[in-house]
């Protein structure tokens, strides 16, 4: 398809081969007058990349010999979901300590130095629902680095002195919890949406981190490191046949889990709509998050929602951006989207912006006005066309490199995305109508259940702006959310609900 893409432009060459400089007349005054061939793009097929190891581990391999590098990623299902009560933080701590604690016959320093001398990048991390082990190395050194990776997976050491250091580091990180507006916003909006009891909101404290031992980290790994619970993504400069052999040698003996990782439980909490405010008097800008729980990827309305969010709140031509930033200059960034997660996490509809304290109310009013409009009126043909073009023609970005492609496939299989998802994506987007967008907006944007969270100088935010009428109470009853202690997450003694 690249051939076709290349020959569409008419080149003005004279017979002698001298470039004839075109007159300005040949250049149209408007870009709509340029003519393009359609982009015929078929995303790479999952099936072409997939093979299985003898013990069933799926591998997604995307070969590309351009640069002498190989990236191998192991994706694991589990993550913070599997943290036992009282050991909150074990996922992050395992991620930090696993790679740094040595493996096999090598102590931590020797392991570091060997990887470092090979100039290999090896990292381990855990997130809410997944864990990742990633190796990137020059292809000539791949075998040596793979041996280290295998040791790490099968014979981690969690060396004691390193482990103690990593624990201290994790506690240091907790101290920063209230420093940054975005971190406060993220933490508090999740609590408001899904409640303190929901697994994602069980957060580490100094006490829970101090309670974790290296044995806890090993046990945490044992819950998820099994042949039936991981996928591999391989990209770069390799030969597939050789690699099948190597990977079977490396991971073919990995056993299945004693008991499978279950899908995460649903939140039971019902959010209480209204205005919530966190006071950070030093911030002269309000951080605002507005939203409510919503659906996941795979919902029948998913593609309509993707089109809808393009028009309402994504990118530089969305209604939200046009009014909040472009027309009124109230914010540098303003966006809205449906999170549409995979793998059993609840989704959310979210609007987010940062505005100077005095105009947070105004910007919120605009977001609400636009919400009302998009739930009641059909979107214009122009908007619909632009949103669909943007979704379809940016599809190649999702496969922009071998590593990205292989990882996308590996993740999809691990979290339950259907194999045909990408091949039918463009067609499904094309089929979305303005009526479906309207229906999706009415069904999935629920103004009456919105939670409004403001982080900043709350007195100034409530004070509003002389040029704009309206009060924050218009959005619902106000609850002051105290900033919790960063190390214990305890609320300060005097918790107050304001008038």
């Amino acid at each position: 398809m690249t051939r076709r893409a290349r020959i569409l432009i008419v080149v003005t060459l004279s017979l002698s081969g001298v470039v004839s400089v075109s007159g300005a007349g040949e250049i149209p005054d408007r870009p709509e007058k340029l003519v393009f061939k359609p982009l015929e793009y078929t995303p790479p097929a999952v099936g072409d990349a997939r093979f299985q190891l003898t013990n069933g581990i799926p591998v997604f391999a995307v070969e590309d010999r351009q640069l002498p590098l190989i990236t191998l990623t192991m994706l694991i299902r589990g993550g913070r979901l599997l943290e036992p009560t009282g050991k909150e933080g074990v996922a992050a701590l395992t991620g930090a300590a696993w790679r740094k604690g040595g493996a096999g016959d090598l102590d931590a320093r020797a392991f570091d130095e060997k990887l470092d001398f090979l100039a290999a990048e090896l990292s381990t991390t855990f997130e809410d629902l997944t864990g990742t082990v990633r190796l990137n190395v020059l292809s000539k050194d791949f075998d040596q680095a793979l041996a280290l990776l295998v040791d790490l997976v099968q014979r981690p050491r969690f060396q004691e002195d390193r482990f103690a250091l990593e624990k201290t580091d994790q506690i240091q990180l907790l101290k920063k919890r209230n420093d940054d507006s975005f971190e406060i916003q993220r933490r508090e909006i999740n609590r408001l949406w899904w409640g303190d009891e929901y697994w994602r909101n069980r957060l580490p404290t100094q006490a829970s981190i101090e309670a974790i031992t290296a044995a806890d980290c090993r046990a945490f790994l044992a819950l998820q490191l099994g042949a039936d619970n991981v996928t591999l993504a391989l990209a770069g400069d390799f030969n597939r046949q050789e690699m099948e052999q190597k990977l079977n040698g490396a991971f073919g003996s990995l056993a299945r889990l004693a008991s499978p990782v279950l899908r995460p439980p649903r939140p039971e909490h019902a959010p209480v709509p209204g205005v919530y405010m966190v006071d950070k008097p030093d911030f002269n800008q309000g951080g605002v998050v507005i939203g409510h729980p919503s659906v996941e990827e795979g919902h029948p309305d998913e593609l309509a929602l993707r089109v809808l969010q393009e028009i309402y709140g994504m990118g530089g031509t969305s209604r939200l951006y046009l009014r909040i930033r472009a027309a009124e200059g109230l914010a540098y960034s303003a966006y809205s989207r449906f999170t549409l997660p995979l793998g059993g996490m609840p989704g959310a509809f979210v609007i987010s912006f940062q505005s100077k304290s005095s105009t947070c109310i105004r910007a919120t009013q605009i977001a609400r006005e636009e919400l009302k409009r998009i739930r009641e009126e059909l979107v214009s043909d122009e908007e619909l066309k632009r949103a669909k073009a943007s979704l379809i023609e940016t599809l190649p970005d999702s496969f922009e490199s071998p590593e990205v492609t292989a990882k996308l496939f590996a993740q999809g299989e691990l979290l339950g995305r259907p194999a045909e998802y990408w091949s039918s994506y463009a067609e499904k987007v094309r089929a979305v109508t303005a009526e479906e967008v309207l229906k999706a907006a009415a069904a999935h944007m629920k103004p009456e259940t919105l939670v409004f969270l403001y982080v900043g100088n709350t007195a100034d935010i409530r004070g509003g702006h002389p040029d704009h009428a309206g009060a924050i109470e218009d959005f619902g009853p106000i609850t002051m959310v105290p900033l919790r202690d960063p190390l214990t997450l305890a609320e300060p003694a005097a918790t107050s609900a304001a008038h």
């Binding site: 432009i9 408007r30 793009y41 320093r109 470092d116 001398f117 101290k175 420093d179 031509t317 922009e400």
Partner: protein, 593 residues
């Protein structure tokens, strides 16, 4: 004129000679095709056909370092203006917009004159606070602001908001953005391969037919950007002042986003002058990486960018040279952040022949296999996390070397600083061993491939390096490192990383709720003064020096205005208390011996 270059990591050969395993490293083949138009605009093309996209960008060889006093921030403000369209894009009727824009300029000029009156009043002490504070506007300023607003609303009715962006997005482009640095301004976008000509149309049109519409409204967006990036960030406002302290004469002294008062006062006329000087084709480099035919790209470049007239004047060169730093400089800040120490020295421009030696020096120190982690974290246990060492972001006029470490519980700033400096002393005096040097070189070689992996990132690097003066930095920044010897590291460390040329920044965590009761009666200025004074006193570990500092404070107390006197008195009293403790500690030390 065009040349076809083959970019080969020939450095790989050197590496082979020096390393044990005799497996040949494959050569990275990056063919960069160059093309220069008659008007001086330069182009770089790199073909990559894995996915049907093209990463397109261009660099204006101008950044905030080219700005003059009173116009700081103009390069960045201008970056925003480049998204405001042309006489045919972003407008319903440009003929009607033009007279409004002229009226706007006239009102702006009157407003500028009014603000000069406010400035004069401030110098006399008859006006307090920020002169652009909306709550302190004079009646005349209010009136002019209202006129301005009315005109802006009139123009708004004629403007098609963000149409320029909309055209790109409707055609499946993504990652459209721009950034401004000290040296370079870069405009970037990713487009579907079938829309290559759209890139040429859009980018050449906004240069050929730029309309600086909404010039005065855009500063509101910039002000919000400053609030987000600088003022609402726990440490960015302090970092900004540290930069200003660090660069004395080099125009990196002022922030890219500009000093707030300058940004408020830049006029459209100044904007036009800036544009015609720095955005002429002879000061630009275009870059395409991706799925296209360079032959066709050349034709399109001639056709579209060939229309731009060469600039009438040559952009002025920056003649200011940094002056020698005569004494160490220190800043102690209390902020919402974990306690940290930074130490920084000025080094060399990115293209300098010694730049590789500094990268090696930083490479020896940083990372978990590096010297700082071993010494400060593993052996002494005085720092947490991974202490950092960096040879700095590549820049045109000068670079820096920076170390940083976060304090472990129960350890002090002075202790960490001393430990960091001990590692610098080692660099200055002990030659690095073969194995350790090779480790850093191996990393650099692997990184030289890694940086080529992503096409969009590759485009950005080429544009940025071209803006610094030579895109081949992509190659030489690797080969320079691979050529570094142990003697080179000794030499540059001894010459540049000297005690009197260091710049030190201490962060301590800002105290929470229970305020120092003694400070309760002071106003904000007084409190600020005491906190800063105390931080400085805390930094002095030697009793004699402390006594001198306290004495200086005391004599300062005689000279300050009456309302500041209580603040100075508190600082003096605290200084005396600390002095007593220090003397007691010293004498008991002496007694032991």
């Amino acid at each position: 004129m065009r040349t076809r270059l083959r970019f080969v990591a020939a450095a790989g050969l050197l590496w082979l000679l020096a390393s044990a395993p005799a497996v040949p490293a494959q050569e990275a083949k990056l063919a960069v095709e160059e093309h220069t138009l008659k008007n001086g605009m330069h182009f770089l093309f790199v073909e990559r056909h894995q996915t049907p996209t093209v990463s397109g960008g261009w660099a204006a060889h101008v950044g905030s370092a080219n700005e003059t006093y009173g116009q700081t921030g103009i390069a960045h403000l201008f970056e925003h203006m480049m998204f405001k369209g042309t006489t045919t894009v972003n407008t319903k009727d440009f003929a009607k917009e033009r007279p409004i824009m002229e009226k706007l300029d006239a009102v702006r000029a009157e407003l500028a004159a009014e603000y000069e009156k406010v400035r004069a009043a401030k110098r006399l002490g008859e006006f307090e606070g920020e002169i652009y504070d909306p709550e302190k506007e004079t009646p005349r300023i209010k009136e002019l602001r209202a006129q301005l607003k009315k005109l802006q609303d009139e123009q708004s009715a004629l403007v098609v908001k963000e149409e320029w962006d909309g055209i790109y997005e409707g055609q499946g482009s993504s990652s459209k953005n721009a950034f401004t640095t000290n040296d370079v301004t870069v405009y970037i976008v990713k487009i579907p391969a079938n829309k290559l000509e759209l890139w040429f149309w859009m980018e050449s049109e906004r240069l050929r037919d730029a309309v600086l519409r909404e010039f005065y409204a855009e500063r509101d967006v910039v002000r919000e950007e400053r609030r987000m990036r600088v003022e609402s960030d726990p440490t960015a406002a302090y970092d900004e002042q540290f930069e200003a302290m660090f660069w004395t004469a080099t125009p990196y002294h002022h922030p890219v986003i500009g000093w707030p008062a300058d940004v408020e006062s830049i006029s459209r006329e100044q904007g036009e002058a800036f544009f015609s000087t720095y955005y002429a084709p002879n000061n630009l480099t275009g870059v395409l990486v991706g799925d296209f035919d360079p032959k066709i790209a050349r034709e399109l470049a001639e056709k579209y960018f060939g229309r731009l007239p060469r600039g009438q004047k040559v952009p002025p060169v920056i003649v200011t040279e940094e002056i020698e730093q005569l004494a160490e400089r220190r800043m102690a800040a209390a902020a919402d952040t974990n306690p940290k120490v930074f130490v920084r020295w000025r080094t060399v421009p990115a293209i300098h022949k010694d730049s590789g030696a500094f990268k090696v020096a930083a490479g020896l120190l940083q990372g978990r296999a590096g010297r700082l982690y071993k010494s400060l974290v593993e052996e002494q246990g005085i720092a947490t996390g991974e202490p950092g060492a960096s040879a700095g972001w590549p820049q045109r006029l000068g670079g820096y070397m920076e170390l940083d470490a976060e304090l472990a519980e129960g350890h002090g700033h002075a202790e960490i600083e001393a430990a960091l400096l001990a590692e610098i002393e080692r660099l200055r005096t002990v030659a690095v061993g073969e194995q350790e040097l090779q480790r850093v070189k191996n990393q650099t070689l692997a990184d030289s491939y890694r940086r080529l992996e992503d096409s969009f990132y590759l485009m950005i690097q080429l544009a940025y390096f071209a803006g610094l003066g030579d895109w081949r930095l992509l190659e030489t920044s690797t080969s320079r490192v691979l050529a570094v010897t142990a003697e080179d590291v000794l030499r540059v460390a001894a010459a540049y990383l000297t005690p009197e040329r260091k710049n030190v920044l201490w962060y301590s965590r800002k105290a929470g709720a229970p305020e120092d009761p003694e400070l309760a009666g002071l106003d904000a200025r007084g409190k600020g003064f005491v906190k800063q004074a105390l931080a400085q006193l805390e930094a002095i570990a030697d009793a004699t020096q402390l006594a001198k500092a306290v004495e200086e404070l005391r004599s300062m107390g005689q000279q300050v205005p009456a309302e500041m006197k209580p603040a100075v008195d508190i600082a003096v009293r605290r200084g005396e208390e600390r002095l007593k403790k220090l003397q007691a500690a010293t004498s008991s030390e002496e007694a032991k011996q």
